[in-house]
């Protein structure tokens, strides 16, 4: 099927099978390999991207479902001039990644949540619930929680 979607501001016209997942279309057809596949059944959240500003698991969505929609991946998180997103700086500052495989998913999950409501970090339970969405096997999560709080306190996102 022929589809078109806008990824990180760039328009892509793709010919995809109906069964092709959004994750595979992003990785293989758009060449954006920052989106990682950790389970391919919607549990781990490593493949989280934003579709029309909402965080979604791109392994559970077909590419054809995104026809005409806007997608943002980790490659589109920094400002166009390369200035890191506050979350990217905060993840480094708080040592919120070790192997880094789950990191793009956590970044896109948290970025969507902060965009929607920056006050989420003021409510420990809401923040915990949010970050419970994704799995990390290296950090034990506490540094990720600290990083998201730190990012919320930094000057606003570049976009």
């Amino acid at each position: 099927m022929r589809i078109s979607l806008t990824v990180n501001g760039e328009k892509f016209r793709l010919e995809v099978e109906p069964r092709r997942t959004l994750a595979d279309a992003l990785r293989e057809d758009c060449g954006l390999t920052g989106t990682h596949l950790g389970c391919e059944h919607g549990v781990c959240g490593a493949c989280t991207v934003q579709v029309d500003d909402s965080a979604v698991r791109s392994c559970l969505m077909f590419a054809v479902q995104c026809d005409g929609h806007t997608v943002r991946t980790v490659e589109g998180l920094a400002a166009p001039d390369g200035t890191p997103h506050p979350l990217q700086s905060a993840f480094t500052a708080e040592h919120a990644l070790q192997c880094g495989f789950c990191t793009p998913g956590f970044l896109m999950l948290a970025a969507a949540a902060l965009d929607e409501d920056p006050a989420i970090t003021d409510d420990p339970d809401r923040l915990r619930e949010l970050l419970t969405s994704n799995l990390c096997r290296c950090t034990g999560y506490e540094s990720i929680r600290r990083a998201v709080r730190r990012a919320a306190d930094m000057p606003g996102p570049p976009d």
């Binding site: 060449g31 059944h41 549990v43 993840f91 990644l97 880094g100 495989f101 096997r137 034990g140």
Partner: protein, 741 residues
């Protein structure tokens, strides 16, 4: 020169930039022209005779380029042995099953196609005919040899006895003797990136291999041997690795099949393991059944410990047969028990292959010893902290030779325990526990684990070169899988040379560039690899002083080195200047003996007796890793291993049905801790530097997996006022509810 104990500091990592911006490069991210993708046809039966593999329809699937079972190959490569060559004889492990399968998920055929969707179409079209044989899942049952996995050979692949036999009179004279049985379930490593490999045939008959791996040089040697290639025809490159935890140290059958397919097709072939494969057919850790007997006099002096442990090493003993011996060697724990005797057996079972998993034999030992010590404390009516303190190996007794043949290098176990008890507020919690027991309230328990573990194995290569532009290149035989070597090894070198760490670039994980290496496992990287780089740095300074002395015509002992420069005869030469006209480089090999990090963990839990749920209120971890180069990085790894330890204690288990088919096929079934399962954690350290190295570092990163489970189990038993031996991990609500009734 850096002061001992201050070689680095909590700096953030240079690795992070690409990883937070989507520009990391894992095996699945590689763009290799013409690359094809592989999928495996696997046995759905745990044990059976392989009658037929029909790939006819698979080969008709559009886009499928080739499909092979063992029957299609004149010669099938054999999987090499990891540590223990004795287990191989009579138990060959073909890359693809030949006439028998010995675990559910065993690779039977490989299908290669233009992309992964098509490869999986081809896989699904394969027809495998098997005659089922009885499954044998429990190592103690398997050891009876009623069902043989290898006809004519015992299922017991390795049997080791450690320590002298215990005098029978000890058990009779002892005031108290306790016995206990434990079952440490099989676990899945569950690195977020599962296994992955890409093999590209090169002109000249060689191959380039990109693999998510912990030991590239060993993989190179193994692949060369198995495929009949010269070692210099195999180049192994390890790109970014999405976690490993022991499951990526080995040369797995899938790797050999992928290499074979690449050579046959003369095209690059990649295999990226999916989560279902990882959970059902991938490597396993732990899996031991244990029996322990412990004797004490009336005053709480431990007299003797006897252990029998049987490990379920899976259908092929090649990668896990050495693990029960590691457990056995750690059976004395932190205690000066006069007599310790262990029988450790590696027993083949119709389960996926066992291999090291974070801790690798030491968590199994700590679990058995620490729960049994708590059991003894209950029988003696002593506080478990006091019983431990009474029996610790004393600081002045090091180096301490255990009855099981290990030499503990150094330690102060009481200091770690005292710090942990102070940090948690032990006396206050005991008061609160007494209050609740008297006046009602949710049952509260405290659990202690004092552990000692082993880190490091074998030597490591390190090299250092100073460049004329003022930068440095460090080369290491280690292989980071998320630990942050590019940051921490640079810190070791920079602090030794007195230069800016950002001028030090690290090269590792490429056999074409790094001449020699062992890899990263057994918490060995800083202990051995950091030591090698420190020695290389000192050698570089010696060479620099000689050059400066020669230039100025003075004796070398009058040339001094400070902050990246040599002063000789009134002149100052930077290392860059001394490297200007000819290379200034050094090579070193560090061969430190094994080290024995230690620590104390205390858990505070509440258990709801009606629901059986465990709430970990507080967890305190005190670890002694010797010298710590980067506390930020080391504490990060401690925290992560605590999370995995909580998973072991409360959630994780690889469960099979009676036929040996895994029940957990997704991450909805195999439960990993999320943020919501994490308790309040407090970490602290004592520092007893490694006496056998210049750097002083001991292994770090695995302790949380070792210390956390016994602390939690002992705490739950304490809350329920039962013997810890009544509980079996993982402590699911059902386990706790039944135990509390």
């Amino acid at each position: 020169m850096a002061e001992p104990g201050t070689p680095g500091g909590s700096v953030t990592r240079v690795e992070d930039g690409p990883l937070v911006s989507g520009h990391g490069c894992f095996v699945a991210d590689l763009r290799v022209p013409g690359c094809t993708e592989a999928a495996f046809v696997r046995s759905d039966t745990a044990h059976g005779r392989l009658r037929a593999v029909d790939l006819g329809v698979s080969r008709q699937v559009p886009g499928v380029l080739g499909a092979w079972s063992a029957g299609d190959l004149e010669e099938i490569p054999l999987v090499p042995v990891l540590m223990d060559p004795d287990v191989d004889g009579g138990r060959p492990w073909p890359a693809l099953a030949v006439d028998r399968v010995r675990y559910s998920g065993e690779p039977v055929a490989v299908v290669v196609a233009e992309d992964r969707y098509l490869a999986e179409d081809g896989r699904d079209a394969a027809r495998v005919t098997l005659d089922p044989l009885p499954a044998v899942l429990d190592p103690q049952v398997a050891a009876r040899d009623e069902v043989l996995l290898y006809p004519g050979r015992s299922n017991v692949a390795v049997e080791t006895t450690l320590g002298d036999p215990i005098d029978a009179g000890v058990w009779e004279r002892a005031a108290v003797v306790v016995e206990a049985r434990y079952r440490y379930p099989l676990l899945c490593h569950t690195s977020m990136e599962a296994r992955a490999i890409l093999v590209r045939p090169d002109t000249g008959g060689g191959i380039t291999v990109w693999c998510s791996h912990q030991a590239p040089h060993r993989l190179r040697g193994d692949l060369a041997d198995a495929l009949g290639l010269e070692a210099d025809k195999v180049r192994v490159v390890v790109p970014d690795v999405g976690g490993a935890f022991g499951g990526k140290s080995e040369t797995w059958p899938e790797y050999l099949a992928v290499a074979l397919a690449a050579l046959r097709l003369d095209r690059p072939v990649r295999w990226v393991e999916d989560r279902k494969e990882a959970l059902t057919a991938g490597p396993r850790g732990r899996g031991q059944s244990q029996w322990v007997r412990l004797a004490s006099d009336a005053g709480g002096h431990l007299l003797a410990l006897e252990m029998q442990t049987d490990a379920a090493v899976g259908g092929y003993p090649h990668t896990g047969s050495f693990l029960p011996e590691v457990t056995g060697r750690m059976a004395a724990g932190t205690y000066a028990i006069p007599q310790v005797c262990v029988r450790a057996r590696a027993v083949v079972t119709t389960t996926p292959p066992l291999c090291p998993y974070r801790g690798a034999g030491r968590p199994e030992a700590a679990y058995a010893v620490e729960c049994t010590v708590d059991l003894m404390a209950r029988r003696l009516g002593m506080d478990p902290a006091q019983l431990r303190r009474l029996n610790f190996v004393r600081p002045e007794a090091f180096p301490f030779d255990t009855p099981t043949g290990f030499r503990y290098d150094s330690g102060d176990y009481a200091a770690a325990l005292d710090l942990a008890l102070r940090t948690v507020g032990y006396a206050d919690w005991r008061s609160e526990q007494a209050r609740r027991r008297a006046h009602g309230g949710t049952p509260l328990g405290l659990g202690i684990c004092t552990y000692v573990e082993r880190s490091g194995a074998g030597g490591e290569y390190g090299a250092l070169e100073a460049h004329a532009d003022g930068s440095f290149t460090a080369t290491s035989g280690c292989c980071s899988t998320g630990q942050g070597h590019a940051t921490t090894f640079a810190q070791v070198v920079a602090s030794e040379l007195g230069v800016d760490r950002r001028r030090v670039r690290l090269i590792e994980a490429d056999t074409a560039v790094v001449p020699d290496g062992v890899g990263s496992f057994a918490s060995r990287s800083m202990q051995s690899g950091g030591e090698a780089l420190l020695r290389a740095a000192r050698d570089l300074v010696s060479e620099a002083r000689e050059r400066a002395a020669a230039r100025t015509g003075v004796r070398v002992d009058t040339a001094s080195f400070e902050r990246g420069a040599v002063r000789a005869n009134g002149s100052t030469f930077t290392l860059a200047e001394l490297a200007a006209d000819r290379p200034l480089r050094s090579e070193a090999r560090a061969e430190p003996p094994q080290a024995f990090p230690f620590g104390a963990y205390v858990a505070v839990v509440e258990v709801d007796p009606e629901l059986g749920t465990v709430h970990v209120v507080r967890l305190v971890a005190v670890d002694d890793y010797g010298t710590v180069v980067n506390p930020l990085v080391v504490r990060g790894q401690t925290y992560g291993s605590i999370a995995q330890g909580l998973g072991q204690a409360l959630y994780e288990a690889d469960v099979h049905d009676e036929e040996g088919v895994p029940r957990a096929v997704s991450l909805l079934d195999y439960l990993l801790p999320t943020l919501s399962e994490m308790p309040e954690v407090a970490m602290d350290e004592t520092c007893t530097p490694n006496p056998n190295t210049l750097l002083g570092a001991k292994g770090a990163g695995e302790a949380g997996c070792i210390g956390t489970p016994p602390a939690v189990v002992n705490a739950v038993a304490d809350a329920l006022r039962i013997d810890p031996t009544v509980l079996a991990i993982p402590l699911t609500p059902r386990v706790c509810w039944e135990a509390g009734r």
